[in-house]
């Protein structure tokens, strides 16, 4: 054995390289089939959808499940997409996280992004309300919100979140990690399972 091997390995495993390995292992062990951290632009949305179309084909799931995962991703991305005008106008951190994970016969689509801390109470209230609804109640609620002439970002977020709950047919899992009076990190997870189709 080369006496330098351990030293070399130790050197290589320090700093960013060890993080790379740990991240890879973590993604591998948790069956994360797609992961991204950064700004979600319109071009990113189309690129990631193209990539996911291929990934889901590789996964050899039923067409119905693949389509469902895909539709949930479109809505999840809507929630973390920030248009260029908005990015230019404020000093808010618009970096977001997107993870797609396979768990047995199910897929979990998770998004994480900063939201203004002042919006947390209303978001939590809406999520709890949605999670208490049956599929038929969600359908009526979606139709009600769709008809409102509210094309603002918050109006569209409400519609997208209701749509996520409808499409996934599962309760939405969420978390708010308070960082400051200004920003809170909002995590939202939707699960799409073969058995709920």
């Amino acid at each position: 054995m080369n006496p330098n091997t351990n030293e070399t390995t130790r050197t290589y495993m320090s700093g960013s390289l060890s993080i790379t390995y740990a991240t890879y292992k973590d993604m591998y062990d948790n069956n994360i089939i797609f992961g991204y951290r950064g700004i979600v632009t319109s071009d990113f949305v189309t690129s990631v959808l193209d990539i996911m179309e291929e990934r889901l084909e590789e996964e050899r799931q039923s067409k119905k499940l693949a389509k469902k995962v895909f539709n949930v991703m479109v809505e999840s991305l809507t929630n973390i997409y920030v248009d260029e005008d908005k990015r230019a106008k404020d000093d808010f951190d618009h970096t977001a996280l997107l993870l797609v994970k396979r768990v047995n016969d199910a897929y979990r689509v998770t998004t994480g992004s900063y939201v203004p801390t002042r919006d947390v109470k209303a978001l939590k209230h809406m999520l709890d309300k949605i999670n208490c609804m049956t599929h038929d109640e969600l359908k009526l609620y979606y139709q009600e919100i769709l008809q409102l002439e509210d094309a603002t970002a918050s109006g569209l977020t409400s519609l997208a979140i209701i749509d996520l709950a409808r499409k996934s047919k599962n309760k939405l899992v969420y978390n708010f990690k308070f960082e400051s009076e200004k920003i809170t990190f909002f995590t939202l997870e939707s699960e799409i399972s073969q058995k709920s189709l």
Binding site: V45, L49, K68, V74, D83, Q143, L146, Q147
Partner: protein, 127 residues
């Protein structure tokens, strides 16, 4: 007669082909435009012009692959304009196509059907 409206499809926007002379009204593909309101304004404006002198019968075909929330609001606006033509005494028939594997697109069609009085037929595409 109003000039046809033709918009070629992209990765983000649907194909639009409205040709009153041949009674072809088609919106198909994916709809996730960056500026949904801007993209649909041209379509809605064209429909406003068409509403001034519509055909005796308008057959409108939606064959969407997927679309995002902001598009869904604009599509509702488009459907409401078609509903007005129908209420004005001209026949309008809307065909809403969806893949057999896409129950979400089917449900969306059902939502629009529930919200509107214009005839809307849900048609499953079987492969």
């Amino acid at each position: 007669m109003l000039e046809p409206l033709k918009i070629e499809p992209t990765h983000k926007t649907p194909k639009v082909y409205f040709d009153p002379a041949n009674n072809i009204f088609e919106l198909s593909g994916r709809s996730i435009p960056e500026d949904s309101v801007g993209f649909y304004k041209r379509i809605l404006d064209w429909i406003d012009d068409y509403s001034a002198g519509p055909n005796d019968k308008t057959d409108f075909k939606f064959e969407l692959e997927y679309f995002n929330t902001s598009s869904s609001k604009n599509i509702l606006e488009l459907l409401k304009k078609l509903e007005k033509i129908h209420q004005g005494g001209k026949a309008v028939h809307i065909s809403w196509y969806y893949d057999e594997d896409d129950e979400d697109m089917e449900e969306t069609g059902q939502d629009y059907k529930a919200l509107l009085s214009v005839p809307l037929e849900l048609i499953m595409k079987v492969y």
